[in-house]
């Protein structure tokens, strides 16, 4: 743990808890990680050790004062700035113990297929960023939408690139999500204790597809217009809620300008908000439960393990 930033080291006052994710009990028995343990007995959250540790005191950098401007001390003081800023923040937020727990937690060795989830996350962030730039030029009224997209594509500096990135980023994100889902399926990562993360994942998949559907209408060209009419009509054919859902999407019985602003609000406020919140929950569970290890890895060689079983 010697690569810990200095503040973080200093902060970790209670010794072993710094790398206390998995403790090995005295008699060689391995305990269940804290996050998976029920009830009391969780250790090492760094509570109650903050008092008396004002950042920068008492760890041996108090040089004997000479009264002259000491260049070395100045440089050292300057390098301390980020650390004391971090310390200042940490003293008030307790963020460093969280950061430490997240960054330096141990993860089982895994292969490259485990990067698919974070790649999907990255694609989502890329969509959010390019989407913000598109929103600066987009006008969600039936009369002006097409022209605003045309202006953005043809006249605005890098407009076509950003639009292209948003458009193809959607495809990339969907592909990554399907691959990520396939990975967690084939690796059996949806099993105990990660069932809930699978359920959240399915909702994320549906929401992402809904992003694709609502975004498709926005350029308001012939293709997007007619495809969306058919899509909404398909919704209308559903039993019981179908017609209501279709009315909600259209903003009335007719397909008109209310439809466009509705799709716009759903596409850039409602679904992204839900997505962000659920991705947060998804990641929280990943951190709490730990990423699974590939199913063919074994902690102990087969035979001795079987022996221990008895």
């Amino acid at each position: 743990m010697n690569f810990l930033p200095r503040t973080l080291q200093r902060r970790s006052g209670n010794g072993q808890a710094a790398d206390g994710e998995v403790e090995t009990g005295g008699n060689g028995q391995v305990e269940i990680p804290g996050a998976l343990r029920r009830g009391p007995g969780r250790t090492g959250n760094g509570n109650g050790n903050g008092n008396g540790h004002s950042p920068g005191d008492g760890d041996g950098n108090g040089k004997p004062g000479t009264g002259l401007i000491d260049k070395k001390a100045l440089v050292e003081g300057a390098t301390e700035v980020p650390i004391s800023v971090a310390g200042w923040l940490d003293e008030r937020t307790g963020g460093s113990s969280v950061a430490r727990a997240v960054l330096y937690r141990k993860v089982p060795k895994h292969d490259w297929s485990y990067t698919l989830g974070s790649a999907a996350l990255f694609a989502f962030v890329a969509q959010a960023v390019t989407g913000v730039f598109l929103a600066m030029y987009y006008d969600p009224s039936a009369n002006r939408a097409y022209e605003s997209v045309q202006h953005l594509t043809n006249d605005v500096f890098l407009g076509e690139l950003v639009r292209g990135m948003h458009r193809w980023g959607a495809t990339v994100m969907i592909v990554l999500i399907f691959l990520h889902m396939g990975q967690t399926f084939f690796y059996g990562a949806y099993k105990y204790p990660r069932e809930l993360n699978w359920v959240i994942g399915v909702v994320l998949l549906v929401l992402t597809l809904a992003m694709g559907f609502t975004g498709y209408l926005l350029p308001f060209d012939q293709r997007s217009f007619w495809a969306t009419i058919v899509g909404v009509n398909i919704n209308a054919s559903g039993p019981i809620v179908g017609p209501y859902l279709a009315d909600f999407l259209r903003g009335g019985a007719e397909f008109g300008s209310a439809t466009l602003s509705r799709f716009y609000a759903i596409h850039m406020l409602l679904i992204p908000g839900l997505l962000a919140a659920l991705i947060g929950a998804h990641l929280y569970l990943v951190i709490r439960l730990g990423t699974s290890s590939p199913p063919w890895t074994r902690a102990v060689k087969k035979r001795s393990y079987a022996h221990e079983e008895i």
Partner: protein, 235 residues
């Protein structure tokens, strides 16, 4: 999984975790490389494939055949596979909803503690079948003959009428022989069901969601007549 199996898993997992690496830099490094690759692919696609913008949406033209994004092709194709109109709601809403519910229930249905794919033959079979079906439907949707083509034998006098019909977007919702959508009734034999006059009346004053062809009749009566004559000839 019973309690013993759960505890066994947790014990095994904590051993593996203990033998693992710190998230930073081990995972962050891999994820970072993957993020760069993802960004590169997105930019490359944006530069090569661009961001096209078709003609402006026009509710009065009906010459446009709707086509969804490729990742909805498999849903769209379901519509063509399901034949009887009374079952269309199954294809549009029913099957996708059932699939989603099954997906959500997966971890509660499959309670086999085994995680190694080599020892989960049933799960692997189900997964592979699902993937194959979705790929198959997607490819079907992607290669479905240009949705503006009618592949019915036509007598020479109705040749022109056929192209007018094909270009008028009817195929988006109606079937002509093998091609066409399922939203409206099939028109393969509409001439046998409806007289010429009734067809013309429907075109001018259709029931929702079908668009009206009144504008076509005003702009180009000859074209409109060809369209109606062709439809009436389908028996």
């Amino acid at each position: 999984m019973n309690n013993r199996e759960k505890e066994q898993y947790l014990r095994e997992y904590s051993l593996l975790k203990n033998k693992g690496e710190p998230f930073f830099p081990y995972t962050v490094y891999k994820d970072g490389i993957m993020a760069i690759v993802t960004l590169a692919v997105i930019i490359l696609m944006a530069v090569v494939l661009g961001a096209e913008l078709g003609p402006k949406a026009d509710p009065t033209t009906t010459t446009y055949v709707p086509r969804p994004e490729w990742y909805f092709f498999f849903l769209f194709e379901l519509l063509r596979v399901v034949e009887p109109p009374s079952l269309v709601f199954l294809a549009t809403i029913g099957i996708p909803t059932i699939c989603m519910v099954l997906l959500i229930l997966l971890p509660f249905v499959d309670r086999n503690p085994e995680r190694d794919p080599r020892r989960r033959p049933i799960a692997m079979l189900a997964g592979a079948t699902t993937i194959a079906a979705m790929l198959y439907l997607t490819v079907l949707g992607a290669t479905a003959g240009a949705p503006t083509e009618i592949e019915l034998a036509t007598s020479p006098q109705h040749e022109q009428g056929r192209s007018v019909t094909a270009a008028s977007g009817c195929l988006g919702c109606h079937k002509f022989g093998e091609s066409g959508g399922q939203l409206g009734p099939a028109l393969t034999k509409v001439g046998a069901r409806l007289p010429r006059q009734a067809i013309a009346r429907t075109l001018i004053n259709p029931t929702a969601p079908m668009p009206s062809y009144q504008k076509l009749r005003e702009d180009d009566p000859e074209k409109f007549d060809r369209l109606v004559n062709y439809l009436a000839s389908l028996k």
